[in-house]
């Protein structure tokens, strides 16, 4: 197993810079997600890893081997990688078994070893009885699993996944997420997973690279991304929460209740530090004013089953999202107590 390192990689299409000096160090066996809205350059980055796109600058290395640099790049077939495509890319003129076995044939594996590894791969994705079917006869989830089996049959160094769940319905997604986790646990291959769905990334990945306009916004574990987002943009992209300004703290600091409430009570001109407050850290006091919290009123509420999401408006005019066990009337005055907040860097854009 070898680690994958991406060093200041850029990709320009004419005037447009799709990927801008991106650097990532991926440990062997790590499950990594590239996350960002569409057009952020994540798929371009993946295609550069695979070798389908050339680099405008920078270098990609796998272990000690340079896969690609500005001058030279290894063709995809020599990288010992595998990829699951959004459209599955199963060859329509081959059976399921032939699709899965094709990478083995290319590596001149034949005879008993071939049959054994093919059977193993099909077994792993639970498609042993479908070996002789044509890919057209399979459902979306089954096709996805064929594509997965094709990836694992050769023990690739790196497996690339390009929005593999985008074409599936919600129920299938949950079970496929489980398949990916199993797949990773058994193979311990390095996985690079591209998605625009933060839920998917948070559920699957060991570490997530959040991308925006071709640049890396933050590179961290899901927990860190959720608890300690670097910028307001990342905070807005991952999970729910509200952006407030306080006269306390500095970027990268957690404010506890006392400091936070004091900082929020200051006059507007002094409240310059942006901070993120997650709804689970807000207590809503719906009863008569007690003077403990900040005054606010209810602008609306959404029923979410286990609780209500309340859209509140503070006296300062800032919006605030909170959870509450019961519904409240529109326009009802309440008080809120904020138990903690995370200070963000000021957004450059």
């Amino acid at each position: 197993m070898a680690g994958l390192s991406i060093e200041r990689v850029s990709k320009r299409f004419g005037e447009h810079t799709a990927v801008d000096a991106l650097s990532l160090d991926i440990a062997p066996g790590e499950f990594v997600a590239l996350l960002g809205p569409s057009g952020c350059g994540k798929t371009t980055m993946l295609r550069m890893l695979a070798g389908f796109e050339s680099l405008s600058a920078g270098e990609i290395r796998l272990g000690g081997r340079t896969l690609a640099s500005h001058e030279r790049q290894l063709p995809p077939e020599q990288r010992n990688m595998a990829m699951v495509f959004q459209s599955y890319a199963l060859w329509p003129h081959m059976s399921v078994a032939d699709n899965v076995g094709y990478p083995l044939k290319l590596r001149r594996v034949s005879g008993e070893v071939y049959r054994q590894r093919l059977a193993q791969a099909l077994e792993l994705v639970g498609l042993s009885s479908y070996a002789e079917r044509s890919p057209q006869d399979l459902s979306g989830g089954q096709r996805q699993r064929v594509a997965l089996a094709r990836c694992l049959v050769t023990d690739p160094d790196v497996v690339l996944l390009d929005e593999p769940l985008a074409n599936l319905d919600r129920h299938l997604r949950a079970s496929m997420e489980q398949s990916f986790r199993d797949f990773h646990r058994r193979t311990r291959a390095t996985l690079v997973y591209v998605t625009h769905d933060q839920g998917e990334a948070m559920a699957l990945a060991d570490r997530i690279a959040v991308m925006r306009d071709g640049r890396l916004e933050q590179w961290a574990t899901p927990e860190t991304l959720y608890r300690q987002p670097r910028t307001a943009w990342v905070a807005g992209f991952i999970g729910q929460g509200s952006l407030l300004y306080a006269a306390a703290g500095e970027p990268g600091v957690r404010l506890e209740e006392a400091d936070l409430m004091r900082g929020l009570a200051a006059v507007v001109a002094e409240r310059t530090q942006p901070l993120l407050v997650r709804p689970e850290h807000i207590s809503v006091l719906a009863d008569a004013p007690s003077g403990q919290g900040l005054p606010a009123w209810v602008e609306g509420g959404t029923f979410r089953g286990e609780r209500y999401e309340l859209h509140l408006r503070l006296a300062s005019g800032e919006a605030l999202l909170a959870y509450h066990p019961v519904a409240l009337d529109e326009g009802q005055p309440v008080e809120v107590v904020l138990r903690e907040g995370w200070c963000l860097e000021r957004d450059s854009q």
Partner: protein, 566 residues
């Protein structure tokens, strides 16, 4: 509201009437032919069909047709797939020019192709004489042979293979190739194990189209085969008609039926093949796959350019050289070079002007009339249930799918006597050729329009309807402007094909009513190859100019309307 209903009802009836009439008229020639060929079966072994089937000459011609077309198809497959694969899949430079030059032979009339090749080889070749490489007098012309015919048929129909294969290559999802690359397949393996199997439908279809088109080709076997006494089915019919006139019509109908059946079997095989190898392909398509040729690029480019030099430039150069010498057999040099042939063709030959005028009238008139019919026809056909729609389109396509001689014989059968009721005699007039052109080229004009209509979002028309536009207003104000480029392109294609048409006109012309295609053919047949060459040079220049015009239109047209632009 009531008036709106009647207007739309009236429009529907008018359109339906138009459609039914056109579809019926498209079927009439084939039915008349069938009637003639099968009509006298009761006479038993004396019936024309039976006599034709028993004649040795028939089966010899069938075999020769199959042999030349089959060999031609193989050559077309070889050339067409080489160009399609290289131009569509690799990073070769100058793709647009390569495509244009490769497509040009398809648009050059076959008798001109044959003439130019004849000028390239043989002891009398002005080009070979000029560079001192002509074989000695009396040595045979290598092209007067089955293989010569097949070679030219192959070159003429190679663009059909190219187009069919290019279409299926462009619809090949990029991911299928990338998945193979990342599985560890080299470029050559990807090509052999993924691309070729997945696009075999396009390859098969292209091959079948090349075969059918070669089977119906008249100009090439006429120019190369008749001097050698090598008759294929279309030339056999032509020769019999030329010698015996309308007296042998019943037998000619039977022969036409035979060749028509052969062509339709080809069409059926092609469609069965397409159906069998059609895959539901998903993924991003429409983009060429950039196989990098690396250091091979220079070599591959040189190969393609050399092939184009051999199949296009050399024969055309021979044609130009032939048109500049004072007489056949004189080498071209600074003393002999002369424009006399052009003076003769343009200035003195009354027949030239007459033929040019006839051809321009015929093709211009056909193009205009077909443009007028195509929009309402396509509009109505598009609103048919899918089953009826494909039936109607097949009926309209029939006169174009069948070899030209078949349509010509059918038209003679239909109009040899004055048309009943109106009592107009068309036989022996330009009118007969005009009617035949209308039947043959309707589908050429209709297809781009139908493609354009198919791309229109129905909501555009619905919005106009809600805004209060009646049916005719919508057709004129919304639909027409949006499909106008496609309509215009269809008309231009009809003009391009009709102005050089030979197969149908060769059987239908009469003194004073010759067309441009017939004139070139007659000049070449009569040994006036210098004059024929001069006229051919002018025709090729016109074809190339018209093709360039269409290319300039291309960006306003739906994809696939212009044959030589993917």
């Amino acid at each position: 509201m009531a008036s709106g209903l009647t207007a739309s009802g009236q429009q529907r009836w008018l359109l339906t009437l138009l459609m039914v009439t056109i579809v019926a008229l498209s079927l009439v020639p084939s039915l008349r032919l069938l009637l003639e060929a099968l009509g006298d079966l009761a006479q038993g072994s004396e019936s024309p069909l039976w006599r034709v089937l028993q004649a040795e000459s028939t089966w010899r011609a069938v075999w020769r047709s199959l042999y030349t077309s089959g060999l031609g198809m193989l050559i077309a497959l070889l050339l067409g797939s080489l160009f399609a694969f290289v131009i569509t899949l690799t990073d070769i430079r100058g793709k647009a020019w390569l495509v244009f030059c490769f497509m040009l032979p398809m648009m050059i009339p076959p008798q001109v192709t044959a003439l130019s090749w004849l000028q390239l080889f043989g002891p009398a070749s002005p080009l070979l004489k000029s560079i001192g490489m002509a074989p000695p007098l009396g040595s045979p012309q290598p092209l007067y042979s089955a293989e010569g015919i097949a070679l030219l048929l192959g070159i003429q129909s190679a663009p059909l293979v190219f187009l069919a294969l290019r279409t299926s290559l462009l619809s090949l999802p990029r991911e299928l190739v990338e998945a193979a690359r990342i599985s560890g397949a080299r470029q050559s393996q990807v090509w052999g194990q993924i691309i070729l199997p997945v696009t075999r439908g396009g390859l098969g279809a292209g091959g079948a189209m090349a075969f059918i088109s070669s089977l119906g080709n008249f100009g090439i076997p006429a120019m190369l085969g008749i001097p050698a006494g090598y008759y294929v089915l279309p030339t056999l019919i032509y020769q019999r008609m030329a010698s015996f006139g309308t007296g042998v019509l019943a037998e000619m109908a039977s022969l036409s039926l035979l060749i028509g059946v052969l062509a339709l079997v080809g069409v059926a095989l092609q469609q069965a093949w397409m159906k069998r190898s059609r895959f539901g392909l998903v993924g991003h398509s429409g983009r060429a796959h950039d196989f990098s040729l690396g250091h091979w690029r220079g070599g591959v480019t040189a190969l393609l350019v050399a092939l184009l030099l051999a199949i296009l430039v050399a024969p055309l150069a021979a044609l130009v050289v032939s048109s500049l010498v004072p007489a056949v057999g004189v080498p071209l040099n600074l003393e002999t070079v002369t424009l006399n042939a052009y003076h003769e063709v343009i200035g003195r030959q009354g027949a030239t002007w007459r033929a040019v005028r006839n051809s321009l009238w015929l093709s211009g008139g056909a193009a205009l009339l077909l443009m007028l019919c195509s929009l309402p026809l396509a509009y109505r056909v598009q609103r048919l249930p899918p089953r009826w729609q494909s039936l109607a389109l097949s009926a309209i396509e029939l006169p174009y799918a069948l070899p030209g001689v078949v349509l010509a014989v059918a038209c003679i059968l239909l109009f040899v006597r004055p048309v009943p009721l109106v009592n107009v005699a068309l036989y022996g007039t330009l009118g007969l050729i005009f009617v035949a052109y209308l039947a043959r080229f309707l589908v050429v004009c209709l297809k781009p329009v139908a493609a354009g209509l198919g791309q229109l979002d129905p909501s555009l028309e619905e919005a106009a309807q809600l805004a209060g536009a009646g049916p005719w207003r919508r057709l004129a104000g919304i639909v027409l402007p949006l499909v106008a480029p496609a309509l215009f392109a269809g008309g231009l294609l009809v003009f391009l094909l009709a102005v050089n048409e030979l197969t149908v006109s060769a059987l239908l012309w009469s003194a004073g009513n010759e067309t441009l295609g017939v004139l070139i053919f007659n000049l070449a047949e009569g040994g006036e190859s210098v004059l024929a060459a001069a006229l051919s040079v002018l025709v090729v220049a016109m074809v190339a100019a018209l093709m360039l015009c269409l290319s300039l239109l291309a960006k306003h047209l739906p994809k696939g309307v212009i044959p030589w632009q993917g």
